[in-house]
Each structure stands twice: as C-alpha cells, then as structure tokens.
C-alpha cells in the first residue's frame, strides 16, 4: 500500500510541477467507485482487526483509539467526496485518491514517531528499574554477609543471590 501510495504521490508531484495554474476542487474528479470501495474495505478491516486484538488483550485500549480514529477519518473522507476534493485542492494534489494515501502515510509517520518516543521512555524506565534492582541486590548481599542470623530470609539459597 505504501509503495502504491508513493507511486501515486510521484505521479502527483509530476502533475503539479508541470502545471502552473492552481487546481480548484471543481476541476478535480471524485474518487472512482472501485477506489472508494477499496478504501472503505481497508478502513473496515483495520477496525475489525483492532477490535479483535483488543478483545484478545493483545492490544491495549490506549493504543487502539488512534487506529480507530484513522479508519474513521478515511471512511468519512471516502463517503464525503466534497470534503476530500476540497482538501485535495488545498494540497494541490492531482487526484483525491492520492490525498487519501498521502494522509495515510502522514499518519504512519506520526505513529512511528510516537512509538519511538514511547520506546525511548520505556527503555529509560527499564534501565532505571534494572539499576535500582542491581543496587538493592548488592546492598542486600552485603547486609546478609554482615549479619546473616538477623536478616529475615538469610537462609535463601545461594544461587538466588548470586
């Protein structure tokens, strides 16, 4: 899908660079019926897959809404061709379908950045937890060496500490 969208964007770029006049919504043709069906089917598939993943607890609710919202926007623009053509006119794209796919690419990029930020945060938290655990383990080991008879759990197996 991304390759297809990129190809369409390249075509769009060529078309716009050749044209010196700005394109208005009235001059643009709406999406082909088959394109609309494909876009709606794609959005419906995303919604179904996301719901199923949430049901199976493989996807957290907090991440699901972004996908659902995107599928909703794609459906809205597919059904409301007037709005899609207006946006296409603003962007200067050659066809309304490429606007839709361009939006999808922007969404995917935004999602990647968001996940990179979350990954950085989680990595930092994981590092902090691991460091804290290592420090406490070392302190516990030292404490047990000093007063083994007074520390509860001092009889814990050696391999648990090592």
């Amino acid at each position: 899908m991304i390759v297809e969208a990129a190809t369409m964007l390249a075509v769009t770029a060529d078309a716009t660079s050749c044209s010196t006049e700005s394109i208005t919504a009235a001059e643009l043709s709406p999406m082909h019926q088959r394109q609309r069906i494909v876009a709606l089917l794609g959005a419906a598939t995303v919604v179904l897959v996301v719901f199923e993943l949430v049901r199976r607890r493989k996807l957290r609710e907090e991440f699901s809404w972004v996908w659902i919202a995107t599928a909703g926007v794609v459906s809205l623009l597919t059904l409301n061709q007037g709005l899609l053509l207006t946006i296409t006119g603003w962007l200067g794209a050659a066809s309304s379908a490429s606007t839709l796919f361009f939006g999808a690419i922007i969404f995917l990029l935004a999602l990647c950045i968001q996940f990179s930020i979350r990954l950085s945060r989680l990595t930092h938290r994981q590092r902090t937890l691991a460091q804290r655990m290592a420090l406490l383990e070392e302190e516990l080991t030292e404490l047990r060496k000093k007063t083994p008879q007074k520390i509860p759990g001092a009889e814990v197996k050696k391999d648990e500490v090592a």
Binding site: R121, R125, T128, Q131, M133, A134, L135, E142
Partner: protein, 245 residues
C-alpha cells in the same frame, strides 16, 4: 581525614582478566574499596571479581558502558563515598597511576582525566581512532577553553561535587566521553588532565570497533550539538537510583 574513595570498574564479559585487574589494584592499595559493575556478563566475570576481593553489582542484562558507570556512581553516592575513581576492566589502565588521579583531586579538581597522549609514551592506535580522538579532542578543547588530549579516556577521578552531578543528571547510556567533559565544564566543575601510562588490551573486545566507530562519531557530534539546547534532566527517574531509600 582522608575522603573515602571507591574504585568503580565497569565490566562486560571480562572473565580471565577482571580477577587480575582487581588483584593488581588491591596489591597497589589494599585500603581502596573496589566496586565492579558486571554489566550483564554471560561468563564468570562477577564470580571472578568477587573471588579477587571486589564488591560486585550485577546488572540483570547488558545496558552499556555508560549505564554501568552510572550505576557505579549511584552506588557510590548511596554508600556515602566522597570521591570515585574509575578504570577499565581489560587491563589497559595501570593501577599504579591511580595515585596521580587522587593527587589531582586533592589539589581541587572535580574531574581528573588520565591521558595517554600527554608525554612521550603515547601508544600506537588505528587511523580511525587517532582521527576520532583528534577531532573530539579539538572540539572539547575549543569548547572548554583548555587543552584536552584524551577525551575518550575511561581512566578518571571524580570529586563528590562531580559525583552528584553525574549521578543525578541524564548520564549518557553509551560512550560518555567528550560530551560529558563539556557537560562538566558547563556545570562549573573543574576538569584537569594528568599523564598516565596505558597498556595494550590483554584480551576481550573493544567498545570502539567496526561499525560502532561510525555510530560513536555520529552520537558524539549529535550529543555535543544538543548540549546548549538540551534540558539538563530529560527524565527525572534517574534520581530514584542514586538516592538511598
């Protein structure tokens, strides 16, 4: 009263070398506390260091040289040490040179770098390493207004003031070199270099090898460029590591 000092040695898969390093340090100064940070080694590094007489702090998995150092700093703070010395676990750093770092700390320095490039005994190194060292040496020197010859040296001494700075700030997870020296300078800490002798690695693998050299250059340049505009503490959870509960 002499300030309490701990020697931090970050180690990753240094079995066969770490024991000798710890024993050499103990032979040189039996009173020095030694803390080996085993950064998730899969060999007998921790046991070897412990058997040689060091205290060992073990990471559950490998987190990188910078994180290992940071854990050592945090442990030093939690145990109330007044200064930290640090050296590598691969036998490159000569324990007899530790006294030079201590002497310079006694003279009021906050950060003392052991430089292999001061004097006439500079070791031979690869072209990439030489070029990288010269570039970052030049950048660091320009930035802090003082000649720094060996910004990649892991042979260092830190005062209590420096310790508090590195343990509570966003310490880099990998390659804390030129960027940290500039950071120290910006924090108002005094950075000085002393001449030390370094040996060839006895074995193991260097952090600076293959494609990592290119990443090192990129990371260091980015980190240096970010210094003036970066928030001092990007993620505040680091504080919870250094503070004793």
């Amino acid at each position: 009263m002499r300030p309490t000092t701990v020697l931090v040695i970050p180690a990753f898969c240094e079995s066969g070398r770490i024991g000798d390093v710890v024993r050499a340090v103990r032979q040189n100064d039996p009173t020095l506390d030694i803390l080996v940070i085993d950064d998730g080694s899969t060999d007998g590094t921790a046991a070897e260091a412990r058997d040689a007489g060091a205290r060992v702090l073990r990471h559950p998995f490998n987190m990188g040289y910078g994180t290992a150092l940071h854990s050592g700093y945090c442990a030093a703070l939690r145990h109330g040490y007044q200064r930290v010395l640090q050296m590598d676990a691969d036998g490159q750093h000569d324990p007899s040179m530790l006294s030079k770092l201590v002497d310079e700390l006694d003279r009021g320095a906050d950060i003392v770098l052991g430089s292999r490039y001061i004097g006439e005994n500079a070791p031979r190194s690869s072209f990439a390493r030489r070029a990288g060292t010269r570039l970052f040496s030049w950048i660091t020197s320009q930035w802090i207004g003082k000649r720094i010859t060996d910004p990649t040296s892991g042979f260092q001494g830190l005062s209590r003031r420096a310790l508090e700075s590195v343990a509570n700030d966003g310490f880099p997870e990998d390659y804390p070199d030129a960027d940290m020296i500039v950071q120290h300078h910006r924090s108002g800490l005094t950075v000085r270099e002393v001449s030390v002798v370094m040996h060839e690695r006895v074995g193991g693998r260097s952090m600076h090898r293959g494609a990592r050299i290119a990443y090192y250059g990129y990371k260091m340049l980015l980190s240096l460029a970010m210094l003036p505009i970066r928030r001092p503490t990007p993620l505040r959870m680091a504080d919870s590591v250094s503070r004793a509960s």
